[in-house]
Symmetry: C2
Subunit: 349 residues, 2 copies
Amino acid sequence: MNDTFLKACRGEEVPFTPVWIMRQAGRYLPEYREVRGKADFLTMCKTPELAAKVTLQPVDILNVDAAILFSDILIPCEAMGQGLEFQENRGPILDPVMRDKDTIDNLSVPDPEDKTKFVMDTIRLLRRELAERVPLIGFSGAPFTTATYMIEGGTSRNFMNTKRLIYETPMLYKSLMDKITATITEYLKAQISAGAQAVQIFDTWGGIFSPGDFREFALAYVIKIIDALKKWIKTENREHVPIIYFVGQTAGLLKEIRTSGADAFGVDWRINIDDAARGLGGDVVVQGNLDPLSMFLPHDKIEERVKDILGRASSARGHIFNLGHGVVPETPPENVIALVEMVHRLSGK
Amino acid sequence: MNDTFLKACRGEEVPFTPVWIMRQAGRYLPEYREVRGKADFLTMCKTPELAAKVTLQPVDILNVDAAILFSDILIPCEAMGQGLEFQENRGPILDPVMRDKDTIDNLSVPDPEDKTKFVMDTIRLLRRELAERVPLIGFSGAPFTTATYMIEGGTSRNFMNTKRLIYETPMLYKSLMDKITATITEYLKAQISAGAQAVQIFDTWGGIFSPGDFREFALAYVIKIIDALKKWIKTENREHVPIIYFVGQTAGLLKEIRTSGADAFGVDWRINIDDAARGLGGDVVVQGNLDPLSMFLPHDKIEERVKDILGRASSARGHIFNLGHGVVPETPPENVIALVEMVHRLSGK
């Protein structure tokens, strides 16, 4: 197996810098759009054959060093009892919004092999089909990022409803977060049991907080999950499963993020990755951090940036190359193919 | 005159920490909504009596230590020849979008006393009406932030069109930025000539860049403006007019921002203000940085945060208290009144 990704996650020596791309199974690929043309997004998530198919596409097309489960961070919200749909050009809609005690009390902490069996089936199918080519990454949203969607009912510009719930009725927020945290803990355990060889926790919106608020209202729950997963892995005598913690708008929160207990840290592009590694404590594994929109640059300019990031990241204990956020649908696929080739070539020993 | 704000901008000793609030003349105030009920937003900007009236409201109601001109950062875009309207609940719409050579070539660098005379008239009226109670702050958008609206045609989630123009046709972007930079330089000179006693340059979207891109595609033009203003002020033998540079998502760009030449630095809430001051070089004047949405907290919790920020900012050469971004329309005005009182009381010697 190409286990370069897993080795890098553990801070071990690697023959080249492994690379995968956030949202690598996505609309920028014509092969993905072909599948998507026949099934809506949620149907794709819930049909293991389709989800596995698009998960494998970037492994074949891009030559990345890890596959990541095709799914959505909002799948557990539906499993908890909130309505979920995806509307074309509008994004997710969750209903009813979680802003009062009765609605939050109605949420359950689901058994992941019951309510989200399709995810676990996809993982089992993928492990067979991948046949040890590259490792498979499972994932979930972090509790706070998940909560923003549940409280706002979708995406948001300034997360006012979320922050009002936190600031005006903190106990209500806590009761919601406790349920989400329990759900995600079980959800990630089930993914690992089904065969996920690493997991990434996406805190895409964690960076909308001041450092103090981030610690109290977002990070505290991530620490609980990572702690529970690590204890469970030990108790079960499982092999070490690396946990990657990605926070959007990372730059002001490094001192907080380093206490999460994660094995590797996803860094967005708004900070130089050497500064991020230093802020995270120096002796850490970082993942990132090319601006997804620099995929519109000519190849020679992309190559300059790849070199720059590889050079900066060499100060860290380990580095997994990635974009600083998901690849956008308008991206020319040939540029992403070229990017992966550049990372391999420029980092190869 | 209460010149505490100007003294703090210059890093001089002050009897208490001055405070003003970004978007202090705004929809959260019933007195503002009353004026706004009779005139649309652009009409208010273009009618000196109305603009002056709402500029003065927060000085009376909140007891802030500075007035800031009521206007909009997009006013110069219209003066350059781009259509501008504000639609209820949709934000600004600029037309045609600036993405090709002919459209950009059609833009002019306007004489600010001609095309934006109403702004200068508002400033002149305000200086008379303020009668030296508190200083008057003028402002503009930074060239990059202004350009995003001109290129996208309004607000944006990921600024793809802007970055594509930059990455795919850098010379076209430069020609647009050169015109915007010349326009804003003249616009700020005119504001100072009309009576603005300090100016703030808003780079609200500057933080969507990696540090390298920020330096090349945003900061370079701000440096030109600040340099030109400082030379002009000297040549004209004018009194020192402090320049405040505010960048949204400040945290990853501190090393770059410190080279701007500004007298004071606006810091958003996503970083602790002592860390920001350190990253900016330590011996600097900082402005900020309470999360605008913490205005929904109970007063005792707001007071804790004010204390925390005042304590942290005491390490800097100077501090002007502010929110980390504009106050939101849903904010209870009594909380903003309380905030100003707290800053004065807790920082008073």
